[in-house]
């Protein structure tokens, strides 16, 4: 039985070469950024799948591919059994589009500054013809505003009258307007203050329970990901290096990059845990290293890693793409996290 969302061999390359004339005159080669280079992910209905990674790893590009903002260079995206990569016009595509929506990162750029909030939220309803008449439209918009804990009166205002957190709520309301089943969330809380982030995450979790939503959640913040995800995929330079259920990934990380990423989570329990930062930086995606792209920074790299690209092999409810794991060279690690949540002192 196909999964709710199935992504196979997804690739997206961007041609960032100089214009043809310049290339010919200066004898420059073509330059291709392999932003997404073969990604396989499955998402079950009702779960939250998070994609984590640093900048340039391709997670935002995957989000945009899933939602149809770019056509894939190769590979397929199947939503509820339908192949989304064939983007044809017509009612079937429209019906599918209605069921998947997106929430964006920047609360200031994701709402049209010249439109009133009411119109912003009403747009998907109008576009998909989901309201019987004006009165029904108004009622739907007001319901949505209430669902995200704003008031119907807020519909008459413009986006600049709201704070960042409130704008994200408006974004969420817009995304929910077409009654989708699947939401792609591209770093929805990264631009928000910590306390506002908590509000938005709580809201999203409530909505998921109430409306039975499935989320694809993109983030670079591992603590947030730990908190809300069912399964997690770690991306590096366009490839998924490891994916597993959340607890498994965090307690028994296998891929060296995953371990390194987990090391960067700040130690707010003040356990005095030493972070050992891994040296080096994320290489440029235009000229990725050969073989396993992580090998320049990997303490376990051998000659095979420099030459051969590792395949994603099954490992404990998930997959890992690492020669070292396959060859058994890398010791198993078991991590635990302090469960001692300090009780706030009361005076």
């Amino acid at each position: 039985m196909p999964e709710f969302v199935q992504i196979d061999g997804l690739k997206r390359y961007f041609d960032v070469s100089a214009p043809w004339l310049v290339r010919k005159l200066e004898n420059r080669p073509r330059q291709i950024v392999q932003a997404v280079d073969g990604v396989d992910i499955t998402i079950a209905k009702g779960e939250t799948f998070s994609l984590v990674g640093e900048s340039g790893c391709g997670k935002s590009t995957v989000a945009r591919l899933v939602v149809g903002l770019y056509p894939p260079t190769a590979g397929t995206i199947a939503f509820d059994g339908h192949d989304m990569s064939q983007r044809r016009g017509g009612t079937e595509t429209s019906a599918l589009r209605r069921r998947l929506q997106m929430i964006f990162q920047d609360p200031y750029a994701s709402l049209n500054p010249r439109w009133r909030v009411f119109d912003i939220i009403a747009e998907p309803i109008r576009a998909f013809g989901l309201a019987k008449d004006k009165a029904d439209l108004r009622k739907q918009v007001e319901d949505l505003l209430r669902q995200v804990r704003l008031t119907p009166a807020d519909g008459a205002k413009f986006p600049h009258e709201f704070s960042g957190g409130q704008r994200q709520r408006i974004s969420i309301a817009r995304a929910l307007a077409s009654r989708p089943e699947f939401l792609v969330c591209d770093e929805p809380t990264s631009a928000l203050d910590v306390s506002v982030q908590a509000q938005i995450l709580n809201l999203m979790m409530d909505l998921q329970r109430r409306l039975q939503l499935t989320y694809l959640f993109i983030s670079h913040n591992l603590a947030v990901v730990y908190h809300i995800s069912t399964r997690v995929g770690v991306m590096y330079l366009g490839r998924v290096v490891e994916q597993a259920p959340t607890e498994t990934l965090f307690r028994r990380p296998k891929h060296p990059y995953t371990r390194m990423l987990l090391d960067t989570i700040p130690d707010l329990e003040m356990t005095g845990r030493q972070r050992t930062p891994v040296g080096g930086e994320v290489p440029s995606p235009i000229n990725p290293p050969s073989g396993c792209t992580f090998h320049p920074r990997c303490p376990f790299a051998n000659d095979r890693c420099k030459v051969e690209r590792p395949k994603a092999l099954p490992a404990e409810d998930g997959t890992v793409a690492c020669h070292g794991i396959e060859e058994g060279r890398i010791p198993v690690e078991e991590r635990s996290y302090s469960l001692d949540r300090a009780q706030p002192a009361r005076s």
């Binding site: 908590a198 090391d263 707010l268």
Partner: protein
């Protein structure tokens, strides 16, 4: 907070105002704190809390019409908030260094990295160009730039983000300042680079005996780097104390709420603590305690009297809960839309 050494930096009753045509906005309201030599003080708060402005006021880089309306800033006993431009220029760089958030705009794209370093060194120290260049090279190696000998002549755009921030740190340290004000130094960097830069900053400041005022919204960075931390809210300090105490045993309701909002490993799927509402705009700061509309512990006194910092456990908190008379009759918050 008695220490035997005189404090390196003393800020007393600092007020930063912005006159606008609609009236004067008070962005930093009666803030006082000290930094001892070699210590790292974290200043944490959300957007609009006034932490960056406090940092800017100390370096003397407040953008007009913002200005210091009252209070004193003393560096090694000498007042620096009222210095004329030329005097302040000498202080900046030589005694106080600065690191800003965006390494891309902190460096002049038209000059090589070496030239910027040499220029700064020569502005504050009587060294020849060759000596200054040698010092610059030393610094670049200290901050971990590989191949420093030829990278010293590279331009900023030839460095990656993390490398650029290392150059910025080198620039900040090159004239040997006693204090560095770092405003969100790692926010624009990837998480793996953040860890490297933080470790670097810590090590260098210890080696050079430089104190750091680290302004950030990221509690994680504070937890790893700071000795003490001040939590700011609506232009005031809500709580200040040793970092371990403030994080694990927060005394101010805002700090408690803040720590509870941060998701952390160890428990999944539960609701995060949520502070209802949001930080008030500068034009609408509540009377009494600025946090009272969002506080679950508030009482009558909180609506009227503004609390100053008072002893609370190992730290100090601006909250009537720690006063002998308490908060008075509890006032229930109306359920407001979040």
């Amino acid at each position: 907070m008695a220490t035997n050494n005189p404090p390196l930096l003393e800020v007393k009753n600092l007020r930063v105002e912005f006159p606008t045509r609609r009236g004067t906005l008070l962005a930093v309201d009666n803030v006082s704190f000290e930094i001892s030599p070699g210590e790292v003080l974290g200043v944490v708060g959300e957007s609009g809390a006034g932490k960056s402005l406090t940092g800017n006021a100390i370096i003397g880089l407040l953008e007009p019409p913002g200005r210091i309306a009252a209070g004193e800033i003393r560096l090694e006993g000498r007042r620096i908030d009222n210095l004329p431009y030329e005097e302040m220029r000498k202080v900046r760089g030589a005694r106080i260094g600065a690191i800003f958030q965006d390494p891309l705009t902190s460096l002049n794209p038209l000059y090589s990295v070496g030239r910027q370093l040499v220029e700064t060194i020569q502005t504050h120290k009587p060294l020849s160009t060759a000596q200054a260049r040698a010092r610059a090279l030393e610094l670049l190696k200290e901050v971990g730039i590989p191949g420093a000998e030829h990278r010293i002549d590279h331009y900023p755009h030839q460095f990656s983000g993390g490398m650029r921030q290392r150059v910025v740190i080198a620039l900040a340290l090159c004239a040997g300042p006693r204090l560095i004000v770092a405003d969100e130094p790692t926010t624009a960097l990837d998480v793996s680079i953040q860890a490297q830069i933080i470790a670097l900053l810590k090590r260098l400041c210890r080696e050079h005996q430089t104190a750091v005022m680290l302004v950030t919204h990221d509690m994680g960075v504070i937890a790893e780097t700071a000795d003490r931390v001040a939590v700011m809210y609506a232009g005031r300090i809500a709580e200040i104390g040793p970092v371990r105490d403030v994080i694990k045993h927060a005394q101010h309701p805002y700090t408690k709420g803040l720590m509870g909002s941060i998701p952390h490993l160890g428990e999944r799927g539960e609701r995060l603590t949520q502070i209802e509402g949001s930080m008030p705009r500068l034009t609408e700061i509540p009377k009494g305690c600025a946090f009272n509309p969002r506080c679950t512990f508030r009482g009558e006194r909180c609506l009227v009297d503004r609390p100053e910092l008072m002893a609370a456990g190992a730290s100090r908190a601006a909250c009537w809960l720690h006063d002998a008379r308490g908060v008075g009759v509890p006032v229930v918050r109306e359920p407001a839309s979040a």
